[in-house]
């Protein structure tokens, strides 16, 4: 899941090299902490969180096959 989130985030930002994801695996859920360059925060959050919401929706659908709940957190 980590690689997929990295891929999506890198496709959206100006500084793909600054994208990193930390994966915290639980029994039934995975928490993915997404970190991007400060300049790129808007590119992964969007107006009223619209981009962040779309990223979460796609990640959620991608996790269905693994039967896990994915939580995407964007951290500073």
């Amino acid at each position: 899941m980590k690689e997929l989130l990295e891929h999506i985030a890198r496709s959206l930002v100006d500084h793909p090299e600054a994208v990193s994801v930390n994966e915290v695996e639980g029994e039934h859920s995975v928490i993915l902490e997404l970190k991007v360059s400060e300049d790129d925060m808007g590119k992964v959050i969007g107006k009223q969180g619209r981009i962040a919401k779309a990223i979460r929706t796609v990640m959620k659908a991608s996790a269905i096959r693994e039967n896990k709940r994915v939580v995407v957190e964007i951290i500073q």
């Binding site: 496709s11 919401k53 779309a54 990223i55 796609v58 659908a61």
Partner: protein
Amino acid sequence: MLRSITKEAKTVDEAIRQALEELGIDKDQAEIEIISEGNKGLLGLIGSKNAVVKVTEKLNIELIVQEFLEPIFEKMAIEADMEITMEDGQMNIRLTGDDIGIVIGRRGETLDALQYLLSLVINRYTQDYTRVILDVADYRKKRAETLQRLARRVAEKVSRTRRNITLEAMNPYERRIIHSSLQGFPNVDTHSVGEEPNRKVVIRYAPGSGK
């Protein structure tokens, strides 16, 4: 953004070769502009001028779309065929394949999210805004027909009972289908209330309208 470099060398061919190498692309992936042919000068000594070329990476939209979607489909464990067509600055991407309902999601939620992200990615590369429509088989077309039928049915009820009816929450794209399909419908009008993502269309009894 598309990369572009200008190279100077003894000959045009040499300049192109160096530029392509630096960009790491093949000739058919590039747009080449010869700025100066250069010239050998007298005896290759006096007045010789280098050739100058400008090499720009060609935009390969199909590749961008594929590179973005493929890892996602891989995770979803599906194989989808992609058909991309351009039409008046609008890009239509139609996906087909077995068991790809997962791409649509609940009420098209996943499809809308993917479409939105894809349009952000594509518009990073293009100068003019490109509208992107992502569809699975004929999901959107069928959904539009369903919404149009719903709109007419509810509008008839509103005009008969003279009571306003609020539809369930819909995304902007779906609300637009409702609004436009009831334009000119007698004795009702439509507007939206509430905040995204719970914005709803109200079909209102409005005697005399739509004539």
